[in-house]
């Protein structure tokens, strides 16, 4: 199994006394090669779950394991991507893609070779010497994915990577991400606000409650074309899954 949360809670110290419980007793597993999405209301601790997987925060209690190893700090198993592309503006695209490899003792030539390969996978050939400001938002996210894939992580963590994009770019990018990730066979944890995105891209969806986040439902998405959200989109069952999520999140009650 690729990722396991067992009874993980996380509280943050607040100003003055007391603390804020962000994640409450969360347990779940993600199998190798699986694509799992996490949805939940804003502020319920989704990003916190991602940060704990990346080893940036330690859980207050419970354990996080990646590839059967206890996560105690940033580690080579995971690569993550946020809504912001976090490309380094002073580096060319190819140098950005190489960035993650530099701290891992990969030689200069191999770095370049691996980065070029990922550049191609992410359909950015010809843009290696461009600088981030010269790329569109969608291309920049693809470059960020290339950088994430270049370090060959066992798990990819995505925190709303498409939410800053317009509807069309989003659809195309979801498709290209899904394809690239499926080809690479990577285990993926996607955090998203977008319920249909979760249905289109995942094998399984975890629904979190309001803060403190708890897993309130787990939905297995039994649909074909995980590698092609554009095809999955037209399936009639998609609406049903979305409706299920809708119900779990009690969106109707909230709107009333």
């Amino acid at each position: 199994m690729a990722l396991e949360f067992s009874e993980v809670s996380k509280s943050f110290p607040t100003q003055g006394e007391g603390s804020l419980l962000a994640v409450d007793n969360v347990s779940f597993r993600v199998e190798e090669g699986e694509f799992v999405s996490v949805v939940g209301p804003s502020g319920c601790g989704k990003s916190t779950i991602l940060s704990m997987t990346a080893g940036l925060y330690q859980p207050t209690s419970g354990e996080v394991r990646v590839s059967n190893e206890l996560v105690t700090g940033p580690n080579a198993h995971v690569g993550f991507m946020l809504q912001k592309d976090l490309l380094l503006p002073w580096r060319s695209i190819i140098a950005n893609i190489e960035f993650g490899l530099e701290a891992r003792g990969v030689g200069r030539e191999e770095r370049r070779a691996r980065a070029m390969k990922e550049l191609e996978h992410c359909q950015l050939s010809g843009f290696e010497d461009h600088y981030p400001y010269q790329l569109s938002g969608g291309m920049r996210q693809r470059a960020a994915l290339a950088r994430t894939l270049a370090i060959n992580p066992e798990i990819i963590l995505l925190d709303e990577p498409f939410s800053a994009l317009d509807a069309q770019t989003k659809l195309l990018l979801q498709n290209s991400f899904a394809k690239t990730i499926k080809e690479a066979g990577k285990t993926t944890l996607l955090i998203t606000h977008d319920l249909s995105e979760a249905v289109l891209m995942s094998d399984r969806i975890l629904v979190l409650s309001e803060r403190p986040g708890q897993v309130i439902a787990e939905i297995k998405v039994d649909l074909p074309h995980r590698d092609q959200p554009i095809k999955r989109r037209v399936l009639p069952e998609v609406g049903e899954y979305a409706a299920q999520l809708f119900k779990h999140l009690k969106l109707e009650e909230k709107a009333a």
Binding site: S51, A54, G55, L56, P74, N75, A76, V78, G79, F80, L82, K84, L86, L88, P89, W90, R91, F99, G100, E102, A103, R104, Y131, P132, Y133, I151
Partner: protein, 255 residues
Amino acid sequence: MIRKHGIKLTSATILILVLVAWQVLPTALDVPRFIIPTLSDSVVELKRMWTNEGLLGHILSTALYTVLGFVIGSLLGAVMGYLLGMSKFWEKVLSPYILALQIAPKVAFAPLFIMWFGYNSMPKLLVTVLIVFFPVLVNVLQAMRTVDRDLVNLARAYSLTRLGVFWKIEVPSTVPNLMAGLRIASTLAVIGVTVGELVGGNTGLGYLISYGGGQANAAMVFNAIILLTVIGFLLYVVLERIEERVLHYLPKSQH
């Protein structure tokens, strides 16, 4: 393209107008030449200064100390800024003192430095270093505080060491502010040297200002001021060029 030409043309026209006014107005308004010398008076005086006062030596001395003071001061400022930027503790401890020193009028230290070090080049160098130090320090420190936390986390997730984060994330992130600090500092450097030379010593354009002032030789003072401005201007232009090269990755704003 036409606009670019237009800018240059207008700029040159203004220069010519100013020069003509300088030449014509003082005589026309009956202002005596020891109050405002005309352009030609100043040019004649410039030639005299060149042959009789060893002008070149003064220019070179001032330019040398401007550059030297600028380099030393900004180096110290940058190093200090980065060190404090890496340590929350020391930044908090030292920030009131930094603020106090930043507010204190640095040029007022010149007489003190002369008392301490005598009439040599040390006082003017020190004043310049001091005056250059703060804008660079403050700009770097400010930038270090505002480095994108997510970029730092990304680097940490990629297993960069603290030093790796510093060199690969923090330093490049702060370069735009550093360059802005250097530009401000370059204009201040000339002030530092000038004050140092005005107050003590017998070399440099600042000295020529006080010497010319003592002799009621306004043309000499005019010439020295113009030459000081040129030195500061050149330093600024060089920095601007460097900045343009270093920060090539920033999108140019459209005009």
